[in-house]
């Protein structure tokens, strides 16, 4: 698979780049840790007033924050650096250089840049997750772990699709530079279990902005509350999302190639 070899080259290049900027690594690490701590503050305060909310204990919600940190860390490593510069691709004409290459331009624009330093946040997320799991006394078996991993992957695909859809709107609307901020704000909802939200919001977070697949469902899988049915649903939704986002991209490109100068 040529695209896979290409991606390996992207990764190698990102590592080379990172070695040139050691201060960047340290800043990313520190900011990530502070943000992680900050993200736990509301949860800790909340559970200062109550023992459990809708069947979730404090330890479980902390484990959930760990999963959230892993997912957002992965997104920030592999997807964020690309989608965040989508507007500049369009307005600075950098897209032209990509369109001339005999590779899928959507693949290229989604995976070209990798921010290796953000992987440190994935590591800290795993530590928080482990801490939460130990505290809550959960001991997932291999099947449950597998379910959780598949669901996290579905979550990553779904979030990428939603974020892509947001930035692709740049093809039709001018000045959508900061649209990544909307994604970052809504994805915050993933810090909390789905049942913490009113029913209409739950549907929104499952089907429209499917952050539930990235955090709540994987944790439920780990605690054994979830069947393979939900995993199937996640995979199904991911496939649909990928097909849809490819369609949007092609339509967008058509607009671009007929309008740009």
């Amino acid at each position: 698979m040529r695209h896979l070899r290409l991606w390996r080259r992207f990764f190698a290049q990102a590592v080379v780049r990172e070695t040139h900027y050691r201060a960047h690594f340290l800043t990313t690490l520190l900011v990530g840790l502070v943000q992680l701590g900050l993200g736990i503050v509301p949860t800790l305060l909340l559970f200062g007033f109550t023992q459990e909310v809708h069947g979730w204990t404090r330890a479980e919600v902390i484990a959930l924050v760990g999963v959230y940190q892993v997912v957002t860390g992965l997104m920030a490593t592999f997807i964020g650096p690309n989608l965040n510069r989508m507007t500049s691709y369009l307005t600075e004409g950098e897209l032209d250089a990509v369109l001339l290459r005999p590779v899928s331009s959507q693949f290229y624009l989604t995976f070209r840049w990798i921010n290796v330093a953000e992987l440190s946040n994935v590591a800290s997320g795993i530590i928080v997750l482990a801490f939460g799991l130990v505290q809550s006394g959960l001991t997932p078996n291999v099947g449950q772990v597998l379910q959780a991993v598949v669901l996290v992957m579905c979550g990553l695909v779904l979030l990428t699709a939603v974020w892509s859809a947001l930035v692709y709107s740049a093809f039709w609307l001018q000045s959508v530079g900061p649209i990544g901020i909307v994604y970052l704000s809504v994805v915050e909802a993933g810090r909390y279990p789905l049942t913490f939200f009113p029913v209409p919001v739950r549907s929104f977070l499952t089907f429209v902005f499917p952050v539930a697949f990235a955090t709540t469902y994987p944790l439920q899988a780990l605690s054994g509350d979830l069947g393979w049915g939900s995993v199937g649903l996640g995979i199904g939704l991911s496939v649909i999302a990928v097909l849809l986002i490819r369609l949007v991209w092609q339509r967008g490109l058509r607009t671009y190639a007929s309008a740009s100068s």
Binding site: V176, A189, F196
Partner: protein, 267 residues
């Protein structure tokens, strides 16, 4: 003074004309601005409904988070990073030879952005208000709303001066970006933008109630959301004015010292 105001008016008009090109961007910014408080609101309402014993009621929580978006927006300042950059790169010199106050440009930029953001935010705020209309605290009479506006303006001035203060460190430090980032993160917790200060643990009360950040965002919102007695209100207002004056003087002092250091080196 009058001349500076006239210049300011011109600059604000020019900035608005320039920035209105990015109309889409402002709507997006405000959409994001309202998202985070909304998520917090839903979480705390769920906790309440689930029987959590909070020191405040549902009406307080709802009003607080609905108004939070507008309070953080109107009092925000993003100047520190830019100003620090200008200082570091020696761009200050080209400003210092002009017959207008150096900070005027930043004030104009700040005011015009807020003007446009208010435009984008009000409709969204209206929708959220309408959704939660049954559990909003609407204080009777004009007085509290007037105070809300006054304390917001004071809060905005306070944040702006804190920004100047932090940017002024660039006169002596090479890189203040970490400092700026720290300010933002600490500020978001202590100002009540993440969690209402009323929900902070009992042991931290004394500190929480009198630290400056409360008077940037939380205090104006508290005035509308309720619970403040007239005495608390007056004390709060006095403390806020005190902070505005104190930080203002400090910023002025540090800035002047910085300019002296800067002119001495002649960057």
């Amino acid at each position: 003074m009058i001349r500076n105001l006239r210049i300011l008016r011109r600059m604000v008009a020019a900035e608005i004309a320039q920035q209105s090109i990015y109309r889409g961007a402002w709507v997006i910014f405000m959409l994001a601005n309202i998202c985070t408080p909304l998520i917090s609101l839903l979480i705390w309402r769920t906790a309440l409904a689930n029987g959590a014993q909070l020191p405040v009621d549902e009406r307080y929580i709802t009003t607080y988070f609905v108004l939070l978006g507008i309070a953080t927006m109107t009092t925000s300042s993003w100047m520190a990073g830019f100003l620090a950059n200008d200082i570091r790169l020696g761009k200050l010199s080209s400003w210092m030879v002009r017959p207008a106050s150096l900070l005027l440009g930043f004030v104009a930029n700040n005011l015009s952005e807020k003007f446009l953001k208010v435009f984008a935010l009000i409709p969204m705020l209206g929708v959220v208000w309408w959704i939660f209309r049954d559990s909003m605290n609407v204080p009777p009479g004009f007085g509290r709303w007037a105070l809300f506006v006054v304390t917001l303006v004071l809060g905005a001035i306070l944040v702006f001066t804190i920004d100047i203060l932090i940017a002024a460190f660039a006169f002596w430090m090479d890189d203040v970006s970490a400092l700026v980032q720290a300010r933002v993160i600490i500020g978001s917790v202590l100002s009540g933008a993440v969690v209402p200060l009323a929900l902070m643990p009992e042991w931290s009360r004394g500190f929480i109630n009198y630290q400056p950040y409360r008077y940037t965002v939380s205090f104006p919102v508290e005035i509308v959301a309720g619970n403040l007695s007239s005495t608390e209100l007056m004390t709060g207002l006095a403390v806020q004015i005190g902070y505005v004056v104190a930080v203002g003087l400090l910023a002025r002092f540090v800035w002047a010292a910085g300019i002296r250091a800067y002119s001495a080196v002649g960057a």
